[in-house]
Amino acid sequence: MKVMITIRGEFVSPRFDLSPEVLIATYYDQELLEEPRSIIVSDVSAEIICDLALKENVAIVVCGAIEEQHYQFLTWKKITVIDAVIGPYVDVLQSVMDNTLQSGAILAGAGAKEGTT
């Protein structure tokens, strides 16, 4: 299963359309098949990231805030979108692999408080 996470620094980027970087990971049976790779987005734009998701043929996109039109576009292209996710991308990736991540999840480390999924 191939997953793409839009990131900024150590966290899932708050905005899909303003993500400077994406992380692409491939996993099977809760194990990474290869070292995740990150791609710096040439121009910050939702369309470019959507295009990248299609080119990379990912099955899941994990992101923060996303506009309805881009969400609909990705789901129309049979990509599962888990949006409104808040937290460090390392933990988010682990949750995706454990199949426990849901839209709107706020993970621990998203601020001063101890959050939960």
Binding site: R15, A65, I66, W76, A84, G111, A112
Partner: protein
Amino acid sequence: MKPESLLHVSPVFSELLNAIPHGIAFLDTNLCIVVMNRFLEVMTGYGNAEARGVYSEFILRSNLGNKNQMCREVLESGESVSKDGNIINRQRKKIPVHFTLSCLHDEQGQAAGFIIVLEDMSVLKSVESKHQGLAQETGILGHSPQMAKVFELMSVLARTDAAVLITGETGTGKDMIAEALHESSQRARQPFIKVNCGALPEALLESELFGHVKGAFTGAVTETVGMFRLAHKGTIFLTEIGDLSLPLQVKLLSVLDDQEFFPVGGSKKVKVDVRIIAATHCSLRQEVQQGHFREDLFYRLNVLHLHMPPLREREGDIRLLLDHFLRQFSGKLGRGITSFTRKAMDVLSHYHYPGNVRELRNIAEYSANICQGKKVGTKDLPQYLFQSSEVSPRPAAISAPPLVSAREEVQPMTKMAGGWTAIEKEMMVDALRKTGGNRSKAADLLGWGRTTLWRKLKKYEMA
């Protein structure tokens, strides 16, 4: 005084915050949310319980860039900083916002936190776009006597605070009417919350409407306020009210009567001040007779009733709307299309528009995209317009008796050769066949929303 301590000063403080018609958040020095007012909760879609302690940029989701930039400016200048930008809320809607960030100081004059004010600029932006002659997206157009009656009734309904029931076929603009009623009512500056009762299963809908307490059911890890509390002092719009289950109808009735309810799993009653606007495409009276809808709730909702006439009954509006939408799409696409040719207009004015204004809008968009010249001809119109008129002479039968209400018109049709149901089934099968079974494309072709097609497929057991 630290922002955290403000919470304990007095209950009046939170009342005061909630009374301000702008989104307000207090941040600590780490730029984490300490408290938000109700307006900001509605604007962002996050409740205080889940947002507290989380970095503000993850909750506000603005386009102002890195969290530190604006705060550094405030700390350096010692003055408030204002900027225009936007946020994307949890409902995936982009809202234009005017941000104002100010620093809070303690007794020693040290920075103790920040206060951020978010002013919703969507109304102003839409007014600006209207002035520029751009898409009048929020406007309701119509010069027909039927629409004149609707506008007349709307001005009366906007002045009252009673529940309103809007009925009408799919695509007639029930949602727009509800929003317009809210915008012209005294609650205009308060939230307008739309809930589609047909889109969620019963258990989820109850929690969505009335909220739940922490631990109410498996997976309820945080408290949710629910749409009714989010719409406090504003308006809640319940669309597809006919799809509401009977147990929820009882709960809704009690809210309408007492303006209070228990959240799911809660033991404390919550009082709300909400105006209810409900809409449905089906005949609620018929649903009552069949035992699918409670009679008492029907009479409670039916205080003020507004029926949206189908487009085929609105004399003269087809041309007006076609011109409007063509101008709008032509402007958006940067084309110089001026009008329809006489032949094309003949075809369009004799079509029966089962998808009403939504379908007409789609036809105009299609034409604006396809047309290469200055005038839209018959070759630039969607092909199904010609096919449906060749296959069945029913459009003429439908558009023939003007000034007759929709209900009176549909009944005789049902007696003829399978009636409207059969026609609708046939149209759906045709559309699905043409699009190779693709429901989204079939819905577009019919001029319906995808959900409408899905609902109708289910209704006729074709899914």
